[in-house]
Symmetry: C2
Subunit: 192 residues, 2 copies
DNA sequence: CGCGGGTTTGATGATGCTCAAGCCCGGTGG
DNA sequence: CCACCGGGCTTGAGCATCATCAAACCCGCG
């Protein structure tokens, strides 16, 4: 079975018929995205949310000095996209690109709403997903007042999968610190 | 009409019958919360989410040095609660208390799920709400790498209602800076 | 009047940033 | 086989930003 449906079933109590599976499937566009290629670029409207079947992506913006600032990192079973642009149809301030070669399933806003109306299981799924997103966001917000060291510790604790998937300078940026500081923090942590 | 329903209607396309209104209403518990009283304390499980009809609340945790760190501020039409604890039934690390005398409508997780199943309008409403939450959270996360000055500017731009509703030291903590720094930032901003 | 809560200000210091240099390692091409 | 290059990581010196702490001030209120 396709990983997306495996993933949906795992998160949902509502039963899903074969027919519903077919409909569900028909709303997703399968695609490969090569390393370094964009899913979304600054100024565009985010037409698709992407379920990542395989690979790794990152979301970032370019700050006033021209540096990339990582906002989110995604791997298998993650959902990449700019919520604001996707929902409000406003131009995005973010870039999203593939850090590794990716296989994704794309869905438009229209399809999402339609599925929500027509498939109770998907509706339940989406609620769960938003909930999980909110929980993760709350944690992230709580970490705003942490020191660099504590932020990294929490990151390693909460997302061990990501630690070896992205280079340190990317993770540093995700945490809101520089690669230099992260390097020193790690060195200090090793000594213990 | 009750402000909650006014608020729901405004966010939803699905029509709502009189009967549905009655059911909806029956799942909310009306309550007054006096200034300084808790809606949630650290260690408790977040039994209720609170729709704020009137008043202002804050969500915070106590850091290792014993200081309050504000995580969220709420006023009229806001929803106060700890997502993680509410959904997972785990003890919360947050406090939520009333900054002003409040009128709230409380709802349990059970009622929320029931309403979601039984009232399509409420289901749609909840999706919208989660969406908006996610958008706000994404913005907040993006601000992690901003300077104190930029954070404050964005705050004033995005939440002008809150600026005069909470004292500066609370807003400073919400922004992840100290009251001293905020005071200096504001002074600098005035000169221009 | 005195008190509590809030804000401002200055002096000092820690934390983390900037910039530059050097290292490591794997891949590519002469 | 080696030279070279790009990408990533580490390290040090100097610096900017922001936190800390303490004192003073402001103001509304009992």
């Amino acid at each position: 079975m396709h990983p997306l449906f495996h993933y949906i079933i795992k998160h949902v109590s509502t039963l899903i018929s074969k027919e519903e599976f077919r409909v569900l499937r028909s709303h997703f566009i399968q695609k490969k995205i090569r390393k370094k290629q964009y899913l979304l670029q600054e100024g565009e409207i985010c037409k698709y949310f992407a379920f990542i079947v395989k690979g790794a992506m990152r979301q970032y913006y370019i700050d006033e000095k021209g540096f990339e600032r990582i906002v989110n990192l995604y791997t298998e079973n993650g959902w990449a996209g700019d919520h604001e642009s996707f929902v409000m149809f406003t131009p995005s301030i973010y870039h999203i690109d593939a850090w590794e070669d990716c296989e994704v399933l794309l869905i438009t806003r229209e399809s999402l709403l339609k599925l929500c109306r027509e498939c109770p299981a998907f509706n339940e799924f989406l609620l769960k997903l938003d909930e999980r997103n909110n929980i993760a966001a709350q944690k992230r917000i709580t970490s705003i007042s942490f020191t660099a060291e504590k932020r990294y510790k929490c990151f390693v604790r909460d997302y061990p999968r990501l630690v070896n998937r992205f280079p340190q300078h990317i993770i540093a940026s995700y945490l809101g610190i520089t690669k230099d500081t992260l390097s020193r923090v790690r060195k200090k942590a090793l000594k213990k």
